[in-house]
């Protein structure tokens, strides 16, 4: 059975062109970039080239790009890094309720460390209100962190306004742009954040490589110590092949941003219309006009999400309930809860996140299968009005 992968916000397959450069490198460049001999200089040359590619993708200077061991580490380096380096200036951080755990859990850790965190609410559409951000700013505010786009719903936040406010009030601004990269235009020239996080495996690059953009002049306290690597911000022998893979993935993502974005938007809209047409009692989650082009989050009344996923899986289709998380967390998605989606409905929510490899045929097949699965599960459900009353 051909499998259909509709979980590209969780991770993307490494694309062929990226694999090629990575393997050429693995085979041909054995050096440590810190070594001064030719093997080392060759490795250094590749890392520098990748840094230039990532930088130019987001409109930054190469010196503003710090490679990390993933997106989670990039978020941590930004948030812990600013918090601990600015703790004499103040102890207040502003964020919002639908951030990824790589932001929320760091904030909770910082609360244990004596920082105060304001978690702003979002509207039913999933949006933060910039006016609320501004009202929350205090003299002791040392960081505002608001994601560019949400991983579960695809909702795009008003980060330009928030960034502008942050600048006016001279508060450093970080944005988790991990889901935005390669899906919508993103430029530090336009947005002017002080820090921004990225992750390779969301753009058809390898897992375990991230980037933190740090605006020149902004200082963060490192998470780890041990050497001069990445300007001392992230010591440790560089993951050369992974970094080079990220560089190549960025380059390709930018080349294809418009055409692929448009293709995905059409496919996604087709999936949405198909579902709404074939399946009653379905609710869409997230501001319809402010969504990543590839993401669709829908709640199916009366049924539970994992049951839907298993039904889809039986027919070879992989999607997800919210973010990639093991099922040992029985609470409904914190993102949908924050948007006011009632618990039962949140439990019946599915995220479809499309990617390069998806076709129209796959989408049409998914609609048909999904309709059958939901119908069958509703027949079993004690809550379904026709069946369960």
């Amino acid at each position: 059975m051909e499998k259909i992968y509709l979980d590209n916000n969780a991770t993307t397959p490494v694309r062929k062109e990226v694999l090629e450069v990575m393997f050429d490198l693995y085979r041909g460049v054995p050096g440590n970039p810190s070594s001064i001999h030719f093997f080392g200089r060759q490795a250094r040359g590749y890392v520098d080239e990748a840094r230039r590619k990532v930088a130019s993708t987001i409109g930054a200077e190469p010196s503003e790009i710090i490679f990390t061991g993933g997106g989670t580490e990039a978020d941590n380096l930004a948030i812990q890094g600013i918090a601990f380096s600015r703790q004499e200036k103040g102890n207040h951080i502003i964020t919002q309720a639908t951030e990824h755990n790589a932001v929320l859990h760091v904030c909770r850790f910082l609360e244990e460390q004596g920082f105060e965190v304001t978690y702003l609410p979002v509207s039913r559409e999933g949006l933060v209100d910039p006016a609320e951000v501004e009202r929350s700013i205090r003299p002791e505010t040392i960081l505002i962190t608001v994601m560019t786009a949400n991983n579960e719903t695809g909702v795009i936040q008003p980060v330009e306004e928030i960034g502008e406010l942050a600048r006016v009030h001279r508060v450093p601004f970080h944005t988790d742009a991990i889901q935005a990269l390669g899906k919508i235009p993103f430029s530090v020239q336009a947005l002017k954040p002080d820090l921004a996080s990225f992750s390779a495996h969301k753009v058809y690059g390898p897992k375990g490589v991230g980037v933190l953009y740090i605006r020149s002049g902004t200082r963060v306290r490192p998470l780890v110590y041990g050497g001069h690597h990445e300007g001392g911000n992230r010591p440790g022998t560089e993951n050369v092949a992974g970094i080079v893979g990220f560089g190549r993935a960025c380059e390709l993502a930018i080349d294809e941003l418009e055409t692929e974005g448009e293709r995905l938007r059409l496919l996604r809209d087709r999936l949405r219309s198909g579902i709404l047409e074939k399946i009653p009692n379905v609710k869409r989650n997230g501001a319809p006009d402010l969504l990543l082009p590839n993401t669709l989050n829908m709640s199916f009344e009366f049924v539970e999400g994992e049951g839907i996923l298993l039904g889809l899986e039986t027919e070879g289709i992989a999607a997800s309930t919210g973010s990639a998380c093991t099922s040992d967390e029985p609470e409904p998605s914190h993102v949908l809860s924050a948007m006011g989606v009632p618990g039962v409905l949140a439990q019946g929510s599915i995220r479809f996140s499309l990617g390069r490899e998806n076709t129209r045929k796959e989408i049409d097949y998914t609609i048909t299968i999904l309709a059958g699965v939901v119908r069958r599960l509703r027949e079993i459900s004690p809550f379904h009005p026709e069946e369960g009353s």
Partner: protein, 140 residues
């Protein structure tokens, strides 16, 4: 290599073709357990005659395991006496399904609990009726 299947073939069979789905119009006992906000709810309906389960139906809002355990427990209790039925533990249900992943063992509790709740409801009604009957008797 190992795409470990999440569930046994038996679980998948009961998920795909659940037995005894639905309601009983005039049940002798009904049990409903779980909390939809946490993900799983099971409702189980019994028809009882001479302390023996003559018919049983279930409905589940929940994951694949929760559906399969509902289906399996109905198969296991049909025709059994209430004494035999009430000692069916969640482990026995899971075993009958050739096991469940550790993270899903809690789902099998749903089946045990829904069954117990239904039997208890039946017994409570019986006692109530017995009381009513004995009251009637005294009145007579």
């Amino acid at each position: 290599m190992n795409i470990e299947a999440p569930y046994s073939d038996k679980v998948m069979d009961h998920f795909n073709n659940p037995r005894n789905v639905g309601e009983i119009e005039v049940p002798d006992g009904v049990g409903m357990v779980g909390n939809p906000v946490c993900g799983d709810v099971m409702k189980l309906y019994l028809k009882v005659k001479d302390d023996r389960i003559t018919d049983v139906r279930f409905q589940t809002f929940g994951c694949g395991a929760a559906i399969a355990v509902g289906s399996m427990v109905t198969e296991m209790v049909k025709g059994k006496t209430l004494e035999e039925a009430i000692i069916i533990s969640n482990k026995k249900v899971a075993e009958a399904l050739d096991g469940l992943p550790p993270a899903k063992m809690h789902c099998s509790l749903l089946a045990e609990d829904a069954l117990k709740a239904a039997i208890e409801e039946y017994r409570a009604k019986q006692e109530g009726m017995a009381d009513v009957q004995s009251e009637h008797h005294q009145e007579d």
